[in-house]
Amino acid sequence: MFKNIVLLLLIFGFCNFADAQTTSTALKEETNIYERVYDAPLQVVGQESATFDELYAQRPVILALIFTRCTGICNPFLVKLKESLQFKDGDDSFRVMVLSFDPRDNLSDMHRLAQNLGLEENEQWAFAITDSISELTQSVGFDPVWDSARRQFDHDALLVGINREGYITKKLIGLRERGDLDLLTGSINNVFVPTYRLQNQNMLFSCFNYDPVTGKNKPGLGLIFLALPAVLTASLLISISILVRRSRR
């Protein structure tokens, strides 16, 4: 009896340990990949109003989400981005769209920001605001949280890569180096990025097959391969058992 109680306590202890975990942090860079960005109407500094799809149809877009009253990451984030992209000046394979997600920002705020960064004449960069910011941020998986005490947003330093078709091909969070930005500019121009393998007709045993029409994965032949060894072992076990019993008779 005593032994059983100790055993139960031990099992209880182990089970409690197993419960001691919280919800996992999402792998934010991987959310919303290959989904379409919301087609928001934009007011761009020094340009005519346009919709997002008109802009990315001209050339792929790197979207940087900031707000001008930011006392935190926004400024170093943009300075770093400018510094990392300085060697791509004049490169017309993409446009950097700096978009405010703060409804308080207006075009003159964004113009001042462009001036401060010395980018108001740079055609590669665009500074804009939109009245549909919540739909747009939702479509890219960006979730700023308002802190009323500090009167600041708590948010990620997010770059979103959008190709000419309006699909999000890659996201980067944080201050990133040129190598990562090269992967981003590559991915929005549909250049092969080694971190992802494209579908290949010579790949016969995929675990999942991505359907670009529905945006869903369908189970593939590869999953059978995962189950096969266990099924084989079970069959082997039963076959051996039957065979040795027969030979015993």
């Binding site: 792998l27 010579n202 084989l232 040795v244």
Partner: protein, 479 residues
């Protein structure tokens, strides 16, 4: 009873394992010294050493467990000497090829050889096919051995009996010895993961020889790699535990442990869940469906925690306020169980998704797997080796020397592991040949680890000398 041929072949296994163990520890110390900046190896040398260190350690402690259960299984069923011999020959061939591939061919994918690394040839051209052939040879040899032992057990016990299902009812007519239950559950896992290895090698060969006409799915290959790698690394622990269930009480002069409903239940959980626990290696793979990730976490708990609970309980009941005869064998077993449980806790912490986000690929990973190996599984097998070697001689290791051996193992092992754990908690990445200055604690910790690993090596050398000497006598004796 055990035949002379079985004693001799077991001696060969033991000598081979101990020799390779000493060599691999030396490689490990060199790696830590390199990380600490004391040595300056070329990165390729470091990664070649890391590759052969990992493969050898996994391989030797797997075969040590297999040799152990094969020897003890003879008490219950007649085992096949031929299968044992084939496994030995193929293991020696495979190991020689692997050492050549890494040390001469400079193959350096790490022991996990994650796809597509082996196919991106950055070493001698012959190294990749030779590596694949060597792995296939090892898998084939061990598969033959495993299936052979499974067959012999099934000749005596039915399927429900080997899994002790009759123990779920009161007063079963046939009682399954715990050794048979755990050995069989482990062998099923071993055979499954070796079949995975065969499939994995076939897919690698197909891509290697197809010249681009066939490519593999990276997700499938990673799943298969860890299905094999994770499972075999865990099953080798369970082989050691089967030996403990058989010998712990016997060495202490007490009656043998019996299978009860909870022992049967815990080990049946292990049988089922160990085969899906490997999903926890893919937490960072965003393309893996979330359901698999959750399954990986749940399976990690259910495969290990019930078995750990009943084993700790069994050992605790066997020693608490019980007068038993302590020898080096059961002391090694006892410390080994503690090391296994501590390392197991470290593993379960890492297998918890929310923790893995932080600990993934930090030194926490080598910390936990080294814990349940060097202070767990290795001690299980060393306990068996020592017990085996003194079966046929009057000379024992003196009590004083036993105490020294154990103290150095614990001090050396704990210090070596602590350097890894602190590194892991400090988010120091693993598998760096050199650490940049930004990781301020990485270098001193690596050097501390190397010093303690050297302390750990001393008792291993003493045991190597003691055990090998006796095993050589057995090997060359005529009776």
């Amino acid at each position: 009873m055990e035949s002379i041929k079985l004693k001799k072949i077991t001696s060969v296994w033991i000598i081979a394992v101990l020799t390779l163990f000493v060599a691999s520890i030396v490689l490990g110390i060199l790696m830590r010294l390199n990380q600490g900046g004391v040595l300056h190896q070329a990165p390729i040398t470091f990664y070649s050493n890391m590759t052969i260190h990992g493969i050898t350690m996994i391989g030797i402690w797997f075969v040590a467990g297999m040799a152990g259960i094969n020897y003890l299984m003879e008490r219950y069923v007649k085992t096949s000497y031929t299968a044992n011999l084939i496994a030995l020959i193929l293991t020696v061939s495979g190991v020689l090829m692997l050492w050549a591939v890494t040390l001469i061919g400079k193959f350096h994918t790490a022991w996990t050889f994650l796809y597509p690394l082996p196919l991106r040839v950055m070493w001698a051209q012959w190294a990749t096919p030779t590596f694949l052939v060597a792995m296939s040879i090892l898998a084939t040899g061990w598969l033959i051995w495993g299936i052979s032992m499974m067959t012999q057990v099934l000749k005596v016990y039915s399927i429900p009996q080997v899994f002790a299902w009759q123990h779920f009812k009161k007063d079963p007519a046939v009682k399954t010895p715990p050794f048979i239950l755990i050995s069989m559950i482990t062998l099923v896992g071993v055979v499954t993961c070796l079949l995975v290895a065969v499939l994995l090698m076939a897919l690698y060969f197909a891509e290697y020889f197809s010249k681009g006409n066939f490519v593999n799915d990276a997700l499938l290959m990673k799943n298969l790699t860890y299905f094999f790698g994770h499972t075999i690394a865990n099953e080798m622990l369970y082989l050691g535990l089967a030996v403990i269930y058989e010998l712990f009480s016997e060495v202490g002069g007490k009656p043998k442990w019996k299978t009860t409903w909870y022992v049967a239940l815990a080990w049946n959980f292990t049988l089922i869940f160990i085969l899906t626990a490997f999903f926890h290696h893919l937490y960072m793979d965003f393309v893996q469906p979330e359901g698999f990730q959750i399954a990986g976490q749940i399976a990690s708990y259910l495969a290990s925690l019930p078995a750990a609970a009943v084993t700790v309980f069994s050992v605790w009941v066997a020693v608490y306020r019980v007068k038993i005869k302590w020898t080096l064998t059961n002391l090694l077993f006892f410390v080994g169980v503690a090391g296994w449980v501590i390392g197991g806790f470290g593993a379960v912490i890492d297998a918890t998704i929310s923790n893995n986000i932080v600990l993934h690929n930090t030194q926490w990973v080598p910390a936990h797997f080294h814990t349940y190996n060097i202070l767990g599984n290795v001690l299980f097998s060393l306990g068996f080796f020592y017990w085996f070697s003194i079966q046929f001689t009057d000379k024992r290791v003196s009590e004083k020397l036993s105490r020294l051996i154990l103290s150095l193992l614990i001090i050396g092992g704990a210090g070596f592991l602590l350097a890894f754990y602190i590194g892991g908690a400090d988010s120091i990445p693993r598998r760096f040949s050199n650490y940049p200055a930004e990781f301020t604690t990485a270098r001193p910790l690596a050097n501390i680890g190397a010093v303690f690993a050297t302390v750990y090596l001393i008792p291993i050398l003493i045991l190597f000398y003691n055990i090998s000497k006796r095993c050589l006598k057995i090997l060359f004796s005529s009776s």
